[in-house]
């Protein structure tokens, strides 16, 4: 690694790699750091994303597509199944291969990737971010200077706090999650299953995402608030004992997913934040890949322009938050309001609605949620805007 770069990106997940790739496009020198030994390992993700969403991010590649899905099933607290099949195709991913592919795209544009580098602080002068402090895996401490730091350091991000931006996330704004990849699953591999209910997955949901060939990701997220009573592992184990008694666990993934609006400030002088670190996550389904990578692209484009102009002030970087809040940011905010509204619907009401819908065919997510918010015009409008 050199002593100095134009741009340092912290975090070589898909968001950081996307930001780095865009930032390097005008010839800027870009260093992409990760504390991991292997990009994308371990994974902390349900590994599902809409095909249309992915096409907006990177060209599809069968090497990291494990399965394609064309329907969803929402299961109410008492077990009524509502099939939603008027949906676009969904992709089940191999996140490790995907993350490595996106990091490879950044490297193809000239980004330097350095692993096993843990960023332990920011270098600051007069409140302006000027570089990073690193502790590498051998315990060596070093400093690397730059004009701009892009923090894509994940749900456990500290860089934004060091830059003076972030406050910690509250217990009701985060889902604590556990997932097993199991085999011995004979369910329809063309359907994504979502279980709801205070007894099954309080203030969250439990998912079964088939990977094909008898494998599935079975996981759960419950709110930090509800975890006071019981953690996610017990809920998940109960479910698996009941529905997949003969299965074996081949992989376990754990992590936290925020379900709150994104940070309101995304920049400081010489600093930007994107992805889970910026809380740019879909609050309805916990999906972070789409919002995160789109934001990463915006941040990277803004960064490349800043290098060309030689201006790294907060106002010079403000294109990024402006573009985010105008488009995806307002979708993301809306996903939060819808999530809050769904939380307020009792299990009993969810059961009643599911019972009404369970024989219907050709349902879309929109029409299901329309049933939920039938008597609330403001929520219906938000819903329409969210799904448009």
């Amino acid at each position: 690694m050199k002593e100095r770069y134009d741009i340092i990106v912290v975090g070589a997940g898909p968001v950081g790699s996307m930001a780095a790739r865009e930032a390097a496009s005008g010839g800027a020198s870009v260093l992409l750091l990760d504390r991991k030994t292997v990009v994308g390992d371990p994974i902390r993700c349900g590994e599902v994303i809409g095909e249309k969403s992915m096409e907006l991010l990177v060209p599809l590649d069968e090497r990291w597509i494990v399965n394609r899905i064309h329907s969803a099933c929402l299961i109410s607290p008492s077990g009524h199944q509502v099939f939603v099949d008027n949906i676009g195709a969904g992709l089940v991913l191999d996140r490790m291969k995907f993350d490595q592919a996106v990091a490879g795209m950044a490297q193809q544009r000239g980004v330097e990737l350095a692993l096993r580098q843990n960023v332990t602080g920011l270098l600051k002068e007069d409140g302006k971010v000027r570089g990073v402090e690193i502790k590498d895996r051998d315990g060596r401490r070093l400093q690397i200077r730059c004009n701009l730091v892009i923090a894509a350091d994940g749900v456990d991000s500290r860089a934004a706090r060091w830059a003076g931006l972030e406050t910690a996330t509250s217990l009701e704004d985060i889902e604590t999650c556990v997932q097993y990849m199991i085999n011995g699953v004979e369910w329809d591999p063309d359907i994504l299953y979502f279980y709801m209910g205070m007894e099954t997955a309080p203030e969250g949901y439990l998912w079964v995402f088939p990977r094909g060939k008898g494998l599935a990701n079975v996981g759960i997220g419950i709110s930090g608030r509800c975890a006071k009573n019981q953690g996610p592992v017990k809920y998940l184990d109960q479910f698996i004992q009941r529905h997949f008694p003969g299965s074996t666990v081949v992989r376990r993934d754990v992590g936290g997913v925020t379900v709150c609006p994104s940070l309101s400030r995304l920049c400081a002088h010489g600093f930007m934040v994107a992805g889970d670190a910026a809380r740019q996550v879909n609050c309805m389904n916990g999906g972070g890949i789409f919002f995160g990578m789109m934001a990463g692209r915006l941040a990277g484009e803004t960064a490349a322009r800043a290098v060309q102009k030689g201006d790294f002030s907060e106002s010079a970087l403000s294109d990024y938050p402006r573009r985010w809040f105008k488009t995806l940011g307002s979708d993301q905010k809306r996903s939060y309001r819808l999530k809050q509204a769904v939380l307020a619907v009792s299990d009993e009401t969810k059961d009643k609605i599911a019972f009404r819908l369970h024989n219907r065919r050709r349902l879309s997510y929109f029409s299901v949620f329309k049933s939920v918010f039938g008597t609330k015009p403001l929520l219906l409008l938000k819903l329409f805007l969210f799904f448009r």
């Binding site: 504390r35 096993r116 500290r158 910690a168 996330t169 604590t176 953690g231 754990v254």
Partner: protein, 68 residues
């Protein structure tokens, strides 16, 4: 941690998956995380949010006796 602290946070590093969910809820920024290591620093205020939110129950808390 602040003087007069009453709680010590203990992380079972064999159970811990280093996922960082605890870090996300830590208001005083008292948790340092690496790929396979974790440390609770002096900034801890004993709020116990980390223990509540840990997906795998790797965090315990013990009362600190005054004078120790």
């Amino acid at each position: 941690m602040k003087s007069g602290r009453k709680i010590r946070i203990l992380v079972d590093k064999k159970k811990c998956d280093f996922c960082g969910t605890c870090v996300a809820v830590c208001e005083p920024d008292a948790i340092e995380l690496d790929e396979a290591d974790i440390e609770i620093t002096d900034r801890c205020t004993g709020c116990l949010k980390c223990k509540i939110v840990c997906p795998v129950g790797a965090i315990e808390a013990e009362k600190i006796e005054p004078g120790l």
